[in-house]
Amino acid sequence: MPAMTEEKIEKFDVESIRKEFPALSQQVYGKDLVYLDNGATAQKPKVVIDAIERYYSKENSNIHRGVHYLSQKATDSYESARKTIQQYINAPLEEEVLFTSGTTGAINLVAFSFGELLKQDDEIIISAMEHHSNIVPWQMLCERKGCVLKVIPMNDCGELKMDEYSLLLTEKTKLVAVTHISNTLGTINPVKKITQMAHKVGAAVLIDGAQSIQHMPVDMQDLDCDFYAFSGHKVFGPTGVGILYGKKEILDRMPPYQGGGDMIEKVTFEKTTYNGLPHKFEAGTPHIAGGICLGEAFRYLEGLDLVELQSYEKELAIYAERELLKIEGLRIIGTAENKTSVVSFVVEGLHPFDIGTLLDKQGIAVRTGHHCTQPVMNYFGIPGTVRASFAFYNTKKEVDLLVKGVERSVNMLK
């Protein structure tokens, strides 16, 4: 329903939101920046940038171990951020929210520590559309422990074949790890159902939320997943920090991941005992500014009407797909019934790198290549895609510029 989509888009006050993101109002190669690479990283609102400056100007101190004023202040801010995030994702307990270095760090933590509980011939299920960070740690675990890796196949639309998934589940399945939203295809997976089915055979579930936390409400208690991982920098926070949510019951059973300061209770050369949650999994001085400012990013989001934002993003992506499909030879990769915010495409006979390079020179930032999902590219038999990934500060005008830019690029290359 074309008219409806454009009407919805025009109603949304995107300009007020854009003013809060300093990086958006710059020029590249003498042209206004059109930033459509939010799947790679999101731009930051001024409140988050100010919080970083404020931390290093006034609050910088090591946390958890000091007796002085600044260290107490920094500790309070850091733990308050943890609490904010706990509430945002509706995790039952604060100690179930672990700060990590990012999604990759979080998944590696689970692959190592939860992996220590597994034995030879135990089975792990992932899906055909996973990012390398949700493939490689499991492959490494399987090599280490002699476990078996199984893959849920997908169809040509980029949707998981749920009937095949149910056939893969056995009493040997110990973990199912899937992405919530695909970074390449935009597919929204039915993770609640996936979790229910896994739990029936006694398997735990890890959800890669790197691309979903910023696009939809996520409720740990509603999803009932055992682990949920995401990156701070994709949800308008700093790089170098992320979150792993884990159910207390399972985290308590897992041995520590990294050893060092803060994760210990008592250290002697004969024996060392470990701290409880969450510190057991937070060795060493963390990215303190990162954690505090990630809390700030979530506080910023809480002040917005998220349902409206998400609806706007979805409409923008639908509009973009519709307009792009008018270009001859253009094919959308990832046409799931349920998808959002990511538009990956290829143009017949042209290489994505060429299109992406020419878009760059027109001030349009997209991503090209395999997007760390080589298996997806192999499935579709393509070297890569051009990917435009939207956030709620992108505009209809930017989509129009993208479409014009692609048209111009295609004409130059053909």
């Binding site: 042209l350 790198f353 060429d354 020179k361 090209t368």
Partner: protein, 138 residues
């Protein structure tokens, strides 16, 4: 024409383009027109994998001079390959091994030779120089 003179020629050709898109239009033309590596020479041992685009490179020494042919699955990469081969072809191994390929930066395309670009070009240039070093050592 020396290697350096060939570089200067290219710099002069590109000097007329102010606009990025005009520059790339020219590079694309170079990419489309250049007859490069033959299809049956696009073997795995000649392939240089890149994150973004793939490059095939064939090297030979004929009468003491290096002969290169190369190709890419991306047109812009191919166009830049054309320029590199134009400069490096029919030169002695010594000249190639020590060549300072400043012309790429001078025409504003240094990003294509950056390791982060991962388009196979930097690896290709390194392989060309390595093959020249080997030929010079013989």
């Amino acid at each position: 024409m020396t290697l350096e003179e060939k570089q200067q020629d290219i710099i002069d050709e590109f000097a007329i383009y102010d606009d990025w898109m005009d520059k790339y239009e020219y590079i694309i033309e170079l990419g489309k027109d250049l007859p490069l590596i033959s299809e049956n020479n696009k073997t795995d041992d000649r392939l240089i994998e890149g994150c973004q685009s793939r490059v095939w490179l064939d090297t030979a020494v004929v009468d003491g001079k290096m002969q290169f042919s190369a190709d890419s699955d991306a047109i812009i990469t191919k166009g830049i390959i054309g320029l590199l081969i134009r400069v490096m072809n029919n030169e002695t191994p010594e000249d190639i091994a020590t060549a300072d390929l400043h012309f790429i930066g001078d025409i504003g395309l240094q990003e294509h030779l950056s390791p982060t670009r991962a388009n196979g070009l930097l690896s290709m240039v390194q392989k060309m120089k390595l093959s020249a070093l080997k030929a010079a050592a013989i």
